[in-house]
Symmetry: C2
Subunit: 252 residues, 2 copies
Protein backbone atom coordinates (compact mmCIF):
# COMPACT_ATOMS: atom_id res chain seq x y z
CA UNK A 1 0.00 0.00 0.00
CA UNK A 2 1.44 3.34 -1.07
CA UNK A 3 0.34 6.82 -0.10
CA UNK A 4 0.70 7.64 3.61
CA UNK A 5 -1.29 10.71 4.61
CA UNK A 6 -0.52 13.58 2.29
CA UNK A 7 2.82 12.22 1.13
CA UNK A 8 1.87 10.81 -2.27
CA UNK A 9 -1.09 9.79 -4.35
CA UNK A 10 -3.50 7.22 -2.95
CA UNK A 11 -4.87 5.31 -5.93
CA UNK A 12 -7.71 3.01 -4.92
CA UNK A 13 -9.25 0.62 -7.40
CA UNK A 14 -11.99 -1.93 -7.25
CA UNK A 15 -12.17 -4.66 -9.89
CA UNK A 16 -15.28 -6.71 -10.63
CA UNK A 17 -13.63 -10.12 -10.94
CA UNK A 18 -15.51 -13.10 -12.35
CA UNK A 19 -12.53 -15.44 -12.59
CA UNK A 20 -12.67 -15.46 -16.40
CA UNK A 21 -10.09 -14.25 -18.87
CA UNK A 22 -11.33 -10.67 -19.35
CA UNK A 23 -11.74 -9.59 -15.73
CA UNK A 24 -8.42 -11.24 -14.83
CA UNK A 25 -6.75 -9.20 -17.56
CA UNK A 26 -8.33 -6.06 -16.11
CA UNK A 27 -7.24 -6.89 -12.57
CA UNK A 28 -3.64 -7.46 -13.70
CA UNK A 29 -3.73 -4.20 -15.65
CA UNK A 30 -4.99 -2.23 -12.63
CA UNK A 31 -2.22 -3.71 -10.47
CA UNK A 32 0.39 -3.01 -13.10
CA UNK A 33 -0.64 0.65 -13.40
CA UNK A 34 -0.15 1.36 -9.70
CA UNK A 35 -3.52 0.96 -8.05
CA UNK A 36 -4.14 -0.57 -4.63
CA UNK A 37 -6.72 -3.07 -5.87
CA UNK A 38 -9.67 -4.69 -4.15
CA UNK A 39 -11.72 -7.25 -6.02
CA UNK A 40 -15.34 -8.28 -5.68
CA UNK A 41 -16.83 -11.42 -7.17
CA UNK A 42 -20.60 -11.18 -7.40
CA UNK A 43 -22.34 -14.53 -7.42
CA UNK A 44 -26.05 -14.59 -8.28
CA UNK A 45 -26.40 -18.25 -9.08
CA UNK A 46 -25.11 -17.91 -12.64
CA UNK A 47 -21.55 -19.05 -12.02
CA UNK A 48 -20.27 -22.52 -11.42
CA UNK A 49 -18.31 -23.17 -8.25
CA UNK A 50 -15.28 -23.59 -10.49
CA UNK A 51 -15.53 -19.98 -11.67
CA UNK A 52 -15.61 -18.69 -8.07
CA UNK A 53 -12.58 -20.88 -7.27
CA UNK A 54 -10.79 -19.33 -10.24
CA UNK A 55 -11.58 -15.83 -9.01
CA UNK A 56 -10.13 -16.72 -5.61
CA UNK A 57 -6.95 -18.17 -7.13
CA UNK A 58 -6.53 -15.14 -9.41
CA UNK A 59 -7.01 -12.75 -6.48
CA UNK A 60 -4.39 -14.65 -4.49
CA UNK A 61 -1.93 -14.70 -7.40
CA UNK A 62 -2.31 -10.93 -7.89
CA UNK A 63 -2.35 -10.27 -4.13
CA UNK A 64 -5.75 -8.54 -4.15
CA UNK A 65 -8.12 -7.94 -1.25
CA UNK A 66 -11.01 -10.14 -2.38
CA UNK A 67 -14.63 -10.70 -1.41
CA UNK A 68 -17.22 -13.03 -2.83
CA UNK A 69 -20.72 -11.61 -2.46
CA UNK A 70 -23.65 -14.01 -2.69
CA UNK A 71 -26.63 -12.19 -4.16
CA UNK A 72 -28.86 -15.15 -5.04
CA UNK A 73 -31.91 -12.92 -4.45
CA UNK A 74 -31.02 -10.94 -7.57
CA UNK A 75 -32.32 -13.76 -9.78
CA UNK A 76 -35.81 -13.13 -8.43
CA UNK A 77 -35.66 -9.41 -9.21
CA UNK A 78 -33.99 -9.60 -12.63
CA UNK A 79 -36.22 -12.53 -13.51
CA UNK A 80 -36.82 -11.82 -17.20
CA UNK A 81 -33.66 -13.36 -18.66
CA UNK A 82 -32.37 -16.58 -20.18
CA UNK A 83 -29.45 -16.41 -17.75
CA UNK A 84 -31.49 -16.10 -14.55
CA UNK A 85 -34.41 -18.30 -15.69
CA UNK A 86 -33.31 -20.54 -18.57
CA UNK A 87 -36.28 -22.86 -17.99
CA UNK A 88 -38.70 -20.03 -18.83
CA UNK A 89 -36.70 -18.14 -21.45
CA UNK A 90 -34.45 -20.56 -23.36
CA UNK A 91 -31.47 -19.31 -25.34
CA UNK A 92 -32.22 -19.53 -29.07
CA UNK A 93 -30.05 -22.01 -30.97
CA UNK A 94 -28.88 -19.68 -33.73
CA UNK A 95 -27.02 -16.83 -32.08
CA UNK A 96 -24.85 -15.56 -34.91
CA UNK A 97 -22.65 -12.56 -34.11
CA UNK A 98 -24.84 -10.50 -36.45
CA UNK A 99 -28.05 -11.46 -34.63
CA UNK A 100 -26.42 -10.66 -31.30
CA UNK A 101 -25.46 -7.20 -32.56
CA UNK A 102 -28.92 -6.39 -33.89
CA UNK A 103 -31.17 -6.67 -30.84
CA UNK A 104 -30.44 -7.07 -27.16
CA UNK A 105 -30.08 -10.86 -26.66
CA UNK A 106 -32.38 -12.82 -24.33
CA UNK A 107 -29.29 -13.51 -22.23
CA UNK A 108 -29.40 -9.84 -21.19
CA UNK A 109 -29.90 -9.69 -17.39
CA UNK A 110 -31.86 -6.55 -16.40
CA UNK A 111 -29.53 -3.92 -14.93
CA UNK A 112 -26.84 -6.46 -14.10
CA UNK A 113 -23.82 -4.26 -14.72
CA UNK A 114 -25.52 -1.34 -12.93
CA UNK A 115 -26.04 -3.66 -9.96
CA UNK A 116 -22.42 -4.91 -10.05
CA UNK A 117 -21.01 -1.40 -10.33
CA UNK A 118 -23.18 -0.15 -7.48
CA UNK A 119 -22.01 -2.94 -5.18
CA UNK A 120 -18.41 -2.21 -6.09
CA UNK A 121 -18.93 1.53 -5.70
CA UNK A 122 -20.38 1.13 -2.19
CA UNK A 123 -17.22 -0.69 -1.10
CA UNK A 124 -14.87 1.62 -2.97
CA UNK A 125 -16.55 4.74 -1.57
CA UNK A 126 -16.26 3.29 1.95
CA UNK A 127 -12.53 2.76 1.47
CA UNK A 128 -12.10 6.23 -0.02
CA UNK A 129 -14.05 8.01 2.76
CA UNK A 130 -12.02 6.17 5.36
CA UNK A 131 -8.81 7.30 3.63
CA UNK A 132 -10.02 10.92 3.63
CA UNK A 133 -11.71 11.19 7.01
CA UNK A 134 -9.75 8.78 9.21
CA UNK A 135 -6.33 8.44 7.56
CA UNK A 136 -6.12 12.10 6.59
CA UNK A 137 -5.45 11.67 2.88
CA UNK A 138 -6.03 14.95 1.01
CA UNK A 139 -8.86 14.86 -1.56
CA UNK A 140 -6.57 16.22 -4.28
CA UNK A 141 -4.27 13.22 -3.94
CA UNK A 142 -6.96 10.52 -3.94
CA UNK A 143 -8.22 8.52 -6.90
CA UNK A 144 -11.09 6.01 -6.72
CA UNK A 145 -11.63 3.90 -9.81
CA UNK A 146 -13.98 1.03 -10.63
CA UNK A 147 -12.68 -1.38 -13.25
CA UNK A 148 -15.08 -3.54 -15.23
CA UNK A 149 -14.27 -5.92 -18.09
CA UNK A 150 -17.07 -4.73 -20.38
CA UNK A 151 -16.56 -5.26 -24.09
CA UNK A 152 -18.54 -3.58 -26.86
CA UNK A 153 -17.08 -5.75 -29.64
CA UNK A 154 -18.07 -9.30 -28.74
CA UNK A 155 -21.07 -8.14 -26.66
CA UNK A 156 -22.22 -5.26 -28.81
CA UNK A 157 -25.88 -6.14 -28.29
CA UNK A 158 -25.81 -5.41 -24.58
CA UNK A 159 -26.72 -1.84 -23.62
CA UNK A 160 -24.60 -2.02 -20.48
CA UNK A 161 -21.47 -2.85 -22.48
CA UNK A 162 -21.44 0.48 -24.36
CA UNK A 163 -19.24 3.48 -23.57
CA UNK A 164 -22.13 5.98 -23.30
CA UNK A 165 -23.70 3.92 -20.52
CA UNK A 166 -20.49 4.07 -18.47
CA UNK A 167 -20.27 7.84 -18.90
CA UNK A 168 -23.83 8.21 -17.59
CA UNK A 169 -23.29 5.77 -14.74
CA UNK A 170 -20.13 7.55 -13.58
CA UNK A 171 -22.09 10.81 -13.47
CA UNK A 172 -24.83 9.17 -11.36
CA UNK A 173 -22.18 7.79 -8.98
CA UNK A 174 -20.54 11.20 -8.72
CA UNK A 175 -23.79 13.01 -7.93
CA UNK A 176 -25.12 10.25 -5.65
CA UNK A 177 -22.02 9.95 -3.47
CA UNK A 178 -20.50 11.90 -0.60
CA UNK A 179 -17.11 11.34 -2.25
CA UNK A 180 -18.19 13.09 -5.43
CA UNK A 181 -20.29 15.89 -3.99
CA UNK A 182 -18.54 16.80 -0.74
CA UNK A 183 -14.93 16.06 -1.69
CA UNK A 184 -15.01 16.49 -5.46
CA UNK A 185 -13.42 13.07 -5.96
CA UNK A 186 -15.34 11.23 -8.67
CA UNK A 187 -15.93 7.48 -8.61
CA UNK A 188 -14.40 6.89 -12.02
CA UNK A 189 -15.27 3.87 -14.16
CA UNK A 190 -12.55 2.35 -16.33
CA UNK A 191 -13.41 -0.09 -19.10
CA UNK A 192 -9.96 -0.85 -20.58
CA UNK A 193 -11.22 -3.69 -22.80
CA UNK A 194 -14.29 -2.00 -24.20
CA UNK A 195 -13.03 -1.59 -27.77
CA UNK A 196 -10.61 -4.55 -27.97
CA UNK A 197 -10.99 -7.77 -29.91
CA UNK A 198 -10.56 -11.05 -28.02
CA UNK A 199 -7.08 -11.43 -29.53
CA UNK A 200 -6.08 -7.97 -28.32
CA UNK A 201 -7.39 -8.80 -24.85
CA UNK A 202 -5.25 -11.94 -24.71
CA UNK A 203 -2.15 -10.00 -25.75
CA UNK A 204 -2.87 -7.23 -23.22
CA UNK A 205 -3.42 -9.82 -20.49
CA UNK A 206 -0.11 -11.53 -21.20
CA UNK A 207 1.74 -8.19 -21.22
CA UNK A 208 0.15 -7.23 -17.89
CA UNK A 209 1.24 -10.52 -16.32
CA UNK A 210 -2.28 -11.85 -15.83
CA UNK A 211 -2.35 -15.42 -14.45
CA UNK A 212 -4.37 -16.74 -17.40
CA UNK A 213 -3.66 -20.37 -16.50
CA UNK A 214 -5.86 -19.88 -13.42
CA UNK A 215 -8.84 -18.45 -15.28
CA UNK A 216 -11.95 -20.40 -16.21
CA UNK A 217 -14.41 -19.45 -18.93
CA UNK A 218 -16.44 -22.58 -19.77
CA UNK A 219 -20.25 -22.43 -19.38
CA UNK A 220 -20.38 -26.15 -18.59
CA UNK A 221 -18.54 -26.04 -15.29
CA UNK A 222 -16.63 -29.30 -15.82
CA UNK A 223 -13.13 -29.94 -14.50
CA UNK A 224 -11.64 -29.17 -17.93
CA UNK A 225 -13.18 -26.65 -20.36
CA UNK A 226 -15.60 -28.37 -22.77
CA UNK A 227 -14.17 -26.63 -25.85
CA UNK A 228 -17.61 -26.46 -27.48
CA UNK A 229 -19.69 -23.79 -25.70
CA UNK A 230 -19.86 -20.14 -26.85
CA UNK A 231 -17.50 -19.06 -24.14
CA UNK A 232 -14.87 -21.71 -24.92
CA UNK A 233 -15.19 -20.80 -28.60
CA UNK A 234 -14.64 -17.08 -28.00
CA UNK A 235 -11.67 -17.82 -25.77
CA UNK A 236 -10.07 -20.16 -28.31
CA UNK A 237 -10.54 -17.49 -31.02
CA UNK A 238 -8.76 -14.95 -28.80
CA UNK A 239 -5.72 -17.13 -28.17
CA UNK A 240 -5.59 -18.10 -31.86
CA UNK A 241 -5.69 -14.43 -32.93
CA UNK A 242 -2.97 -13.59 -30.41
CA UNK A 243 -0.86 -16.54 -31.57
CA UNK A 244 -0.46 -17.73 -27.98
CA UNK A 245 -1.34 -21.17 -26.57
CA UNK A 246 -4.01 -21.13 -23.83
CA UNK A 247 -2.17 -21.99 -20.58
CA UNK A 248 -5.43 -23.27 -19.05
CA UNK A 249 -5.39 -26.06 -21.66
CA UNK A 250 -1.87 -27.23 -20.80
CA UNK A 251 -1.72 -30.92 -19.83
CA UNK A 252 -2.37 -31.26 -16.08
Amino acid sequence: MTGAAGSSRRRLALVLLSGGLDSTAVAALARRTGYAVSAVTVHYGQAHRREIDSAQRVAQALDLQHRVVDVAFFRDLAWYSALTHPERFPLPADRTPEAMAEAVPVSYVPLRNTFFLTLGAALLESEALHALEVEGVAPGTLEATLFIAANAIDYSGYPDCRPEYYTAMAEALRLGSKLGTQYGVPLRIETPLIRLSKGEIVRLAVEAGAPLGLTYSCYEGGERPCGRCDSCGLRAKGFAEAGIPDPALAPA
Copy 2:
Protein backbone atom coordinates in the same frame (compact mmCIF):
# COMPACT_ATOMS: atom_id res chain seq x y z
CA MET B 1 -54.59 -4.42 -13.71
CA THR B 2 -55.48 -2.23 -16.66
CA GLY B 3 -54.05 -2.27 -20.15
CA ALA B 4 -54.70 -5.43 -22.16
CA ALA B 5 -52.42 -5.74 -25.19
CA GLY B 6 -52.58 -2.61 -27.24
CA SER B 7 -55.95 -1.45 -25.91
CA SER B 8 -54.86 1.15 -23.38
CA ARG B 9 -51.88 2.41 -21.49
CA ARG B 10 -49.98 -0.01 -19.28
CA ARG B 11 -48.58 2.02 -16.42
CA LEU B 12 -46.17 0.01 -14.30
CA ALA B 13 -44.71 1.42 -11.12
CA LEU B 14 -42.36 0.16 -8.50
CA VAL B 15 -42.28 1.79 -5.08
CA LEU B 16 -39.41 1.47 -2.61
CA LEU B 17 -41.45 0.94 0.55
CA SER B 18 -39.85 1.14 3.99
CA GLY B 19 -43.08 1.03 5.99
CA GLY B 20 -42.58 4.59 7.22
CA LEU B 21 -44.75 7.63 6.63
CA ASP B 22 -43.02 9.00 3.51
CA SER B 23 -42.80 5.86 1.39
CA THR B 24 -46.37 4.94 2.35
CA ALA B 25 -47.52 8.35 1.13
CA VAL B 26 -45.68 7.74 -2.15
CA ALA B 27 -47.21 4.26 -2.58
CA ALA B 28 -50.72 5.63 -2.03
CA LEU B 29 -50.04 8.45 -4.48
CA ALA B 30 -48.81 6.03 -7.17
CA ARG B 31 -51.92 3.90 -6.73
CA ARG B 32 -54.18 6.94 -6.81
CA THR B 33 -52.67 8.19 -10.05
CA GLY B 34 -53.40 5.00 -11.95
CA TYR B 35 -50.27 2.88 -11.78
CA ALA B 36 -50.19 -0.89 -11.35
CA VAL B 37 -47.84 -0.81 -8.37
CA SER B 38 -45.29 -3.32 -7.10
CA ALA B 39 -43.42 -2.59 -3.90
CA VAL B 40 -40.02 -3.68 -2.69
CA THR B 41 -38.81 -3.41 0.89
CA VAL B 42 -35.04 -3.60 1.09
CA HIS B 43 -33.74 -4.83 4.41
CA TYR B 44 -30.02 -4.51 5.08
CA GLY B 45 -30.08 -4.92 8.83
CA GLN B 46 -30.95 -1.29 9.53
CA ALA B 47 -34.66 -1.76 10.07
CA HIS B 48 -36.43 -3.20 13.04
CA ARG B 49 -38.73 -6.13 12.46
CA ARG B 50 -41.59 -3.76 13.28
CA GLU B 51 -40.77 -1.59 10.26
CA ILE B 52 -40.87 -4.61 7.92
CA ASP B 53 -44.20 -5.64 9.46
CA SER B 54 -45.50 -2.14 8.76
CA ALA B 55 -44.38 -2.34 5.14
CA GLN B 56 -46.24 -5.64 4.78
CA ARG B 57 -49.42 -4.24 6.32
CA VAL B 58 -49.24 -1.12 4.14
CA ALA B 59 -48.73 -3.22 1.02
CA GLN B 60 -51.75 -5.34 1.94
CA ALA B 61 -53.92 -2.29 2.66
CA LEU B 62 -53.01 -0.75 -0.70
CA ASP B 63 -53.24 -4.10 -2.52
CA LEU B 64 -49.66 -3.99 -3.82
CA GLN B 65 -47.51 -6.84 -5.07
CA HIS B 66 -44.84 -6.81 -2.38
CA ARG B 67 -41.42 -8.35 -1.80
CA VAL B 68 -39.04 -8.04 1.08
CA VAL B 69 -35.44 -8.41 -0.06
CA ASP B 70 -32.83 -9.30 2.56
CA VAL B 71 -29.52 -7.74 1.59
CA ALA B 72 -27.63 -8.09 4.86
CA PHE B 73 -24.38 -8.38 2.86
CA PHE B 74 -24.71 -4.71 1.88
CA ARG B 75 -23.57 -3.65 5.38
CA ASP B 76 -20.16 -5.19 4.67
CA LEU B 77 -19.78 -3.30 1.39
CA ALA B 78 -21.13 0.08 2.50
CA TRP B 79 -19.22 -0.27 5.76
CA TYR B 80 -18.18 3.35 6.31
CA SER B 81 -21.37 4.67 7.93
CA ALA B 82 -22.91 5.29 11.33
CA LEU B 83 -26.00 3.42 10.12
CA THR B 84 -24.25 0.24 9.02
CA HIS B 85 -21.53 0.27 11.72
CA PRO B 86 -22.64 2.45 14.65
CA GLU B 87 -20.06 0.80 16.91
CA ARG B 88 -17.21 2.15 14.74
CA PHE B 89 -18.72 5.46 13.61
CA PRO B 90 -21.06 6.80 16.29
CA LEU B 91 -23.66 9.44 15.45
CA PRO B 92 -22.62 12.79 16.92
CA ALA B 93 -24.90 14.09 19.65
CA ASP B 94 -25.51 17.56 18.23
CA ARG B 95 -27.13 17.10 14.86
CA THR B 96 -28.88 20.41 14.36
CA PRO B 97 -30.74 20.83 11.06
CA GLU B 98 -28.10 23.40 10.07
CA ALA B 99 -25.23 20.99 10.70
CA MET B 100 -27.03 18.29 8.72
CA ALA B 101 -27.41 20.66 5.77
CA GLU B 102 -23.78 21.73 5.77
CA ALA B 103 -21.86 18.51 5.21
CA VAL B 104 -22.96 15.02 4.37
CA PRO B 105 -23.84 13.44 7.75
CA VAL B 106 -22.04 10.35 9.09
CA SER B 107 -25.37 8.55 8.79
CA TYR B 108 -24.90 8.66 5.00
CA VAL B 109 -24.74 5.07 3.71
CA PRO B 110 -22.49 4.83 0.61
CA LEU B 111 -24.59 4.55 -2.54
CA ARG B 112 -27.65 3.34 -0.66
CA ASN B 113 -30.29 4.97 -2.84
CA THR B 114 -28.40 3.96 -5.98
CA PHE B 115 -28.46 0.39 -4.69
CA PHE B 116 -32.18 0.56 -3.82
CA LEU B 117 -33.10 2.07 -7.19
CA THR B 118 -31.06 -0.52 -9.06
CA LEU B 119 -32.80 -3.39 -7.26
CA GLY B 120 -36.17 -1.84 -8.00
CA ALA B 121 -35.21 -1.14 -11.60
CA ALA B 122 -34.16 -4.77 -12.20
CA LEU B 123 -37.61 -5.95 -11.13
CA LEU B 124 -39.47 -3.18 -12.95
CA GLU B 125 -37.53 -3.77 -16.17
CA SER B 126 -38.32 -7.49 -15.94
CA GLU B 127 -42.05 -6.71 -15.64
CA ALA B 128 -41.87 -4.20 -18.48
CA LEU B 129 -39.98 -6.52 -20.86
CA HIS B 130 -42.47 -9.28 -20.14
CA ALA B 131 -45.33 -6.89 -20.96
CA LEU B 132 -43.66 -5.95 -24.26
CA GLU B 133 -42.27 -9.27 -25.43
CA VAL B 134 -44.72 -11.82 -24.04
CA GLU B 135 -47.98 -9.93 -23.51
CA GLY B 136 -47.64 -7.89 -26.68
CA VAL B 137 -48.01 -4.44 -25.16
CA ALA B 138 -46.85 -1.73 -27.60
CA PRO B 139 -43.82 0.29 -26.45
CA GLY B 140 -45.64 3.56 -27.08
CA THR B 141 -48.34 2.63 -24.57
CA LEU B 142 -46.04 1.47 -21.78
CA GLU B 143 -44.77 3.49 -18.83
CA ALA B 144 -42.29 2.18 -16.25
CA THR B 145 -41.72 4.39 -13.23
CA LEU B 146 -39.71 3.98 -10.05
CA PHE B 147 -41.06 5.90 -7.05
CA ILE B 148 -38.77 6.80 -4.18
CA ALA B 149 -39.62 8.89 -1.11
CA ALA B 150 -36.48 11.04 -1.23
CA ASN B 151 -36.71 14.44 0.39
CA ALA B 152 -34.28 17.31 -0.14
CA ILE B 153 -35.73 19.47 2.65
CA ASP B 154 -35.30 17.41 5.81
CA TYR B 155 -32.40 15.42 4.33
CA SER B 156 -30.68 18.18 2.42
CA GLY B 157 -27.22 16.95 3.43
CA TYR B 158 -27.55 13.67 1.57
CA PRO B 159 -26.28 13.74 -2.03
CA ASP B 160 -28.69 10.99 -3.04
CA CYS B 161 -31.70 13.02 -1.94
CA ARG B 162 -31.13 15.82 -4.49
CA PRO B 163 -32.99 16.27 -7.79
CA GLU B 164 -29.84 16.40 -9.95
CA TYR B 165 -28.81 12.95 -8.74
CA TYR B 166 -32.15 11.48 -9.82
CA THR B 167 -31.85 13.04 -13.27
CA ALA B 168 -28.40 11.46 -13.70
CA MET B 169 -29.53 8.11 -12.35
CA ALA B 170 -32.52 7.96 -14.69
CA GLU B 171 -30.17 8.60 -17.62
CA ALA B 172 -27.87 5.76 -16.48
CA LEU B 173 -30.89 3.43 -16.19
CA ARG B 174 -32.10 4.44 -19.64
CA LEU B 175 -28.72 3.82 -21.30
CA GLY B 176 -27.98 0.67 -19.28
CA SER B 177 -31.28 -1.09 -19.99
CA LYS B 178 -32.80 -3.01 -22.87
CA LEU B 179 -36.06 -1.19 -22.14
CA GLY B 180 -34.50 2.22 -22.69
CA THR B 181 -32.18 1.43 -25.59
CA GLN B 182 -34.09 -1.13 -27.64
CA TYR B 183 -37.66 0.02 -26.97
CA GLY B 184 -37.18 3.69 -26.18
CA VAL B 185 -39.14 3.33 -22.93
CA PRO B 186 -37.22 5.08 -20.15
CA LEU B 187 -37.13 3.80 -16.59
CA ARG B 188 -38.41 7.03 -15.09
CA ILE B 189 -37.73 8.01 -11.49
CA GLU B 190 -40.41 9.95 -9.63
CA THR B 191 -39.63 11.71 -6.36
CA PRO B 192 -42.98 13.31 -5.50
CA LEU B 193 -41.90 14.39 -2.01
CA ILE B 194 -38.52 15.84 -2.88
CA ARG B 195 -39.39 19.50 -2.24
CA LEU B 196 -42.13 19.09 0.38
CA SER B 197 -42.01 19.89 4.07
CA LYS B 198 -43.04 17.18 6.51
CA GLY B 199 -46.38 18.93 7.03
CA GLU B 200 -47.03 18.97 3.28
CA ILE B 201 -46.15 15.28 3.10
CA VAL B 202 -48.69 14.46 5.82
CA ARG B 203 -51.40 16.43 4.01
CA LEU B 204 -50.56 14.78 0.68
CA ALA B 205 -50.61 11.35 2.32
CA VAL B 206 -54.05 11.93 3.84
CA GLU B 207 -55.43 13.20 0.52
CA ALA B 208 -54.05 10.14 -1.29
CA GLY B 209 -55.69 7.81 1.23
CA ALA B 210 -52.42 6.49 2.66
CA PRO B 211 -52.94 4.10 5.61
CA LEU B 212 -50.84 6.22 7.96
CA GLY B 213 -52.10 4.37 11.04
CA LEU B 214 -50.16 1.32 9.81
CA THR B 215 -46.85 3.13 9.33
CA TYR B 216 -43.95 3.02 11.76
CA SER B 217 -41.14 5.54 11.95
CA CYS B 218 -39.46 5.15 15.37
CA TYR B 219 -35.72 4.34 15.45
CA GLU B 220 -36.15 2.45 18.74
CA GLY B 221 -38.25 -0.39 17.41
CA GLY B 222 -40.50 -0.64 20.47
CA GLU B 223 -44.15 -1.63 20.34
CA ARG B 224 -45.23 2.02 20.56
CA PRO B 225 -43.15 4.89 19.09
CA CYS B 226 -40.77 6.36 21.69
CA GLY B 227 -41.68 9.97 20.87
CA ARG B 228 -38.11 11.13 21.56
CA CYS B 229 -35.87 9.98 18.69
CA ASP B 230 -35.11 12.16 15.60
CA SER B 231 -37.56 10.21 13.51
CA CYS B 232 -40.42 10.49 16.02
CA GLY B 233 -39.66 14.21 16.35
CA LEU B 234 -39.78 14.82 12.60
CA ARG B 235 -43.01 12.87 12.30
CA ALA B 236 -44.66 14.78 15.16
CA LYS B 237 -43.60 18.05 13.54
CA GLY B 238 -45.23 16.96 10.28
CA PHE B 239 -48.57 16.09 11.86
CA ALA B 240 -48.50 19.30 13.92
CA GLU B 241 -47.83 21.42 10.79
CA ALA B 242 -50.62 19.63 8.96
CA GLY B 243 -52.98 20.08 11.90
CA ILE B 244 -53.86 16.41 11.87
CA PRO B 245 -53.55 13.92 14.75
CA ASP B 246 -51.17 11.00 14.10
CA PRO B 247 -53.41 7.93 13.73
CA ALA B 248 -50.50 5.66 14.74
CA LEU B 249 -50.63 7.31 18.20
CA ALA B 250 -54.35 6.59 18.71
CA PRO B 251 -55.02 4.61 21.91
CA ALA B 252 -54.79 0.90 21.15
